[in-house]
């Protein structure tokens, strides 16, 4: 390393490095640090959700089992659904995106670092609130969908549903903050030369996902606010007796709830595309069709929420329309699958663990997609709706479509995040047990649904003939649990003893692999430039680097939206506690609102105070001052 390079590194480290101690930890705003917290927290919730799943499978392994009573079971399945959707899947994808996107596009931090920190803290408050409620026996018990009137004031007295509603508000706030952050980071901070049509597919996926969050999550926030108000101050949004409407809830919820599935699934497509390119040693076939497919899934995803409501007795015309829309989404999904298959077909496969998970994705996800076509067809949906067939379907789609690629991504990016490789042998055990356990658990549920077994039942009669398949499913769940244990062992073992990865163990194409593993607090010594898709593969030997960005301040390069030509230099804020205070004020606001409407006033005042603290300028002031100053 040359002397001036070492000097530069030192300088950057001093500028970008975190503060020390507990305060330093709490005031951290760098995207890799925040993203790691997201990922770890979401993984912990994944484990908790998994334990809940095991409890349910235990209860259902035989007829009339007494592992839990109905009250606890209903809490457990509500917790499982809410945890997996709101506390695991979305934040996990958010976290992976926050970690990788700034690195992949070659910048030093996300566009709004403090917003990132705020998002994490609100998410954490939401998750802790939900589990605190559960432990105090006020765990929500009306399902992750909280249909009214069951979740309304009359049929769910107490505070259980209120806790659910406010958890939603917290996690959606976090999701929205993260989405806006990612959009702006992608739009304005890409490395010079990375025009929109040279962005890695992963970045495209995160962009599409973030746009979907922006337009989908307000729906559930509006809905959960209405529900909370119905319960707290006696509004009548969902009360048919006073002109409200029970189905209005379902419309609002699924206007969010269906895009939610794609919000979880599209980032996984990005991970999959990254892995495929590297392990087939070629570009992904059909960049443009794949991007267009993701974008059109993003659009169509908003036009099919009603297929969750085919059994509510809608007019036939509406059902036909939403059936057509639901089937339409199979086309871009299909085109993507075909492009990836072509990539496999045209490449030379490097059989490493990330690719294993991706290959399994094809079998599992396509199965779920095909049952999805069945469910999107209203005639069939009106048969299997709300049976275990649906449980099978969406676990095939969500675990197959999101968790398999996510685990592939874990094996792929773990070396970048930690500097060490995950163990290959344990990894293979982890993979095969998961694959087998998964199919054993969920494939039989298709049949159970066709036999008439409803969802969300805490038990079933001895005479129903549902025991053998349920027992099989439970056995599969145990195998999955073993698999996850192996994964945990692998992670902890590899953190200490794993093979040292180096900067780029895979010979990969995206920019995160051009910096150290794990990346330094400033991400890159020199901000990179790009001359093609697959940035590192297409880089010229003397590919220029950016100079003239100050290293004594947290300065980053802002580029133009379309062609990523350099536009101006911007300074990003550094570590601060204010996002934490604002998140806590938000916490007081919404948690107090569970008990009294005065929460709005108290929380509002606290929010104003903390936000003022957030935005109030304080030294050191920048030297670039406006031409006129107060005297």
């Amino acid at each position: 390393m040359r002397d001036d390079e070492a000097w530069e590194r030192l300088h950057l480290e001093r500028t970008w490095g975190p503060k020390k101690g507990l305060i330093g930890w709490l005031s951290e705003v760098h995207h890799t640090a925040i993203a790691k917290r997201y990922i770890i927290t979401a993984f912990v919730f994944f484990l908790l959700g998994g334990v809940e799943a095991l409890l349910m499978r235990w209860q259902l392994s035989g007829p009339e089992k007494q592992v839990m009573g109905p009250d606890l079971y209903n809490q457990v399945f509500t917790m499982h659904g809410s945890t997996m959707m709101f506390l695991f899947a979305v934040p996990m994808m958010e976290g992976v995106g926050l970690y990788l996107v700034p690195l992949m596009i070659g910048t030093r931090n996300a566009a709004f670092p403090r917003l990132n920190a705020f998002g994490y803290w609100t998410y954490l408050i939401g998750g802790v609130l939900l589990y605190a409620g559960f432990l105090l026996n006020v765990g929500p018990d009306a399902g992750w969908f909280s249909y009214v009137p069951l979740a309304g004031p009359q049929y769910s007295p107490g505070k259980r549903v209120d806790i659910w509603a406010q958890m939603i508000t917290f996690t959606e706030l976090a999701g929205l903050a993260g989405a806006v952050n990612l959009i702006v980071t992608v739009f304005k901070h890409r490395a010079p030369g990375m025009s929109l049509n040279r962005m890695p597919l992963f970045v495209w996926a995160m962009l599409v996902k973030s746009f979907m969050v922006v337009f989908a999550m307000p729906a559930v926030m509006v809905a959960s606010t209405c529900l909370a108000m119905d319960r707290l101050i006696g509004t009548h949004f969902f009360n048919p007796a006073e002109g409200g409407d029970a189905l209005l809830w379902q419309h609002l919820f699924w206007f969010f709830g269906h895009p939610e599935v794609y919000i979880i699934f599209i980032p996984a497509l990005g991970m999959l595309s990254s892995i495929l390119a590297v392990f087939t040693r070629r570009q992904v076939f059909g960049y443009l069709p794949v991007v267009l497919s993701m974008v059109s899934i993003g659009f169509i995803g908003f036009g099919l929420w009603v297929h969750h409501m085919f059994a509510t007795g809608l007019p036939q015309l509406g059902q036909s329309f939403f059936t057509a829309a639901s089937l339409m989404v199979a086309l871009p999904s299909g085109v993507q699958i075909f492009c990836w298959l072509a990539t496999l077909w045209g490449g030379r496969l490097w059989m490493r663990l990330p690719l294993y998970w991706v290959l399994a994705f094809f079998a599992v996800f396509v199965t779920g997609g095909l049952t999805g076509v069945m469910l999107g067809t209203y005639s069939v949906d009106q048969q299997v709706h709300d049976t275990h067939f649906v449980v099978a379907h969406f676990h095939y789609v969500l675990i197959g479509g999101a968790v398999f690629p996510l685990f592939g991504g874990l094996y792929y990016w773990f070396p970048k995040m930690t500097g060490r490789m995950l163990g290959e042998r344990l990894g293979k055990w982890n993979f095969w047990t998961f694959f087998i356990g998964f199919n054993l658990t969920f494939f039989p549920l298709h049949f159970l649904g066709m036999m008439g077994m409803p969802r969300r039942v805490y038990t079933y009669g001895v005479d129903r003939g549902w025991q053998p398949l349920n027992l099989l499913a439970t056995a599969g769940a145990v195998i999955m649990a073993v698999s996850i244990t192996l994964l945990l062992v692998n992670i902890f073992w590899s953190l200490k003893r794993g093979e040292v990865a180096g900067d780029d163990p895979w010979g990969a194409d995206t920019l995160e692999w051009s910096t150290t593993s794990p990346p330094p607090s400033y991400n890159f010594l020199h901000l990179p430039t790009v001359r093609g898709r697959y940035a590192r593969w297409t880089a010229a030997e003397d590919q220029p680097v950016v100079t003239g960005v100050r290293s004594d301040r947290k300065e980053v390069l802002v580029t133009r939206l379309l062609d990523a030509a350099p536009d101006h230099r911007a300074e990003l804020p550094g570590p601060t506690l204010w996002p934490l205070w604002v998140a806590l004020a938000t916490g007081v606001f919404f948690i107090m609102c569970i008990f009294t409407p005065w929460g709005v006033v108290v929380g509002g005042v606290l929010l104003f105070i903390t936000l003022t603290g957030w935005f109030w300028p304080r030294p050191p002031y920048k030297e670039e001052l406006a031409p006129e100053q107060p005297s």
Binding site: K188, C226, D230, R569, T612, W616, P617, E624, E628, Q629
Partner: protein, 204 residues
């Protein structure tokens, strides 16, 4: 790693920019998109609930509330003038113009809030009277929250402009804040049309 031979020097580039070149502009655009979606969904809910009432509206809006709503709309539109003036001043870095614009803008914002409180006192039904009351109070209440927060934001910036030092990026902040206020005003217009100018409501 071989030492880089070619470089792309960006030291000559400015350190701030107005409009869509500025990341914050996009951040605020995202916020507007989120809030527009929320308002759109509230409107959809309004129409959904409206269909449940054979006699709509179940409680008529008093005449003076209709007048008041028109006045509020007028004041809202009027507030665009000082804020626009502040924006122009921000582009040129003129302190006086920004201060006057923000001060008048927030004053008009608080006038709207005061009138809104009077409206709520006169309106004759509550959020728990019926579903129409619920959605009416919800939409108007949410907009009032935006009006309050927008006006407070004006005051906050005013404080920065008086305290100093005023950095370049504060000019961008003033401009962004102004744009957000335009959004608050613009989002009031469909609310006014849908909630107050509905023929059934007007005739009631």
């Amino acid at each position: 790693m071989s030492p880089p031979r070619r470089t792309l020097d960006v030291s000559h580039l400015p350190t701030f920019a107005f409009g869509h070149r500025d990341p914050l502009w996009w951040g605020v655009t995202g916020l507007m998109a989120i809030e527009s979606t929320a308002f759109a969904l509230m409107f959809a809910s309004y129409f959904y609930i409206r269909g449940n009432f054979p006699h709509f509206p179940p409680t008529a809006l008093p005449f003076y509330v209709k007048v008041l709503a028109a006045v509020i709309t007028g004041v809202m539109l009027l507030s665009v003038v000082p804020i626009h003036y502040a924006n122009r001043a921000a582009l040129k870095g003129r302190l006086r113009g920004m201060r006057w614009g923000l001060a008048l803008g927030s004053l008009l914002g608080f006038v709207v809030v005061a009138l809104r409180i009077v409206e709520f006192l006169w309106i004759g039904f509550r959020w728990d009277t019926h579903a129409y009351g619920s959605i009416f109070w919800f939409i108007v209440g949410m907009h009032t929250v935006h009006t309050i927060s927008g006006s407070l934001e004006d005051l906050l910036l005013l404080g920065v402009l008086f305290k100093g030092p005023v950095e370049e990026k504060h000019l961008v902040d003033v401009h962004t804040n102004g744009r957000y206020w335009f959004f608050v005003v613009a989002s009031w217009l469909p609310i006014y049309v849908i909630l107050y100018l509905d023929p059934a409501v007007l005739a009631s």
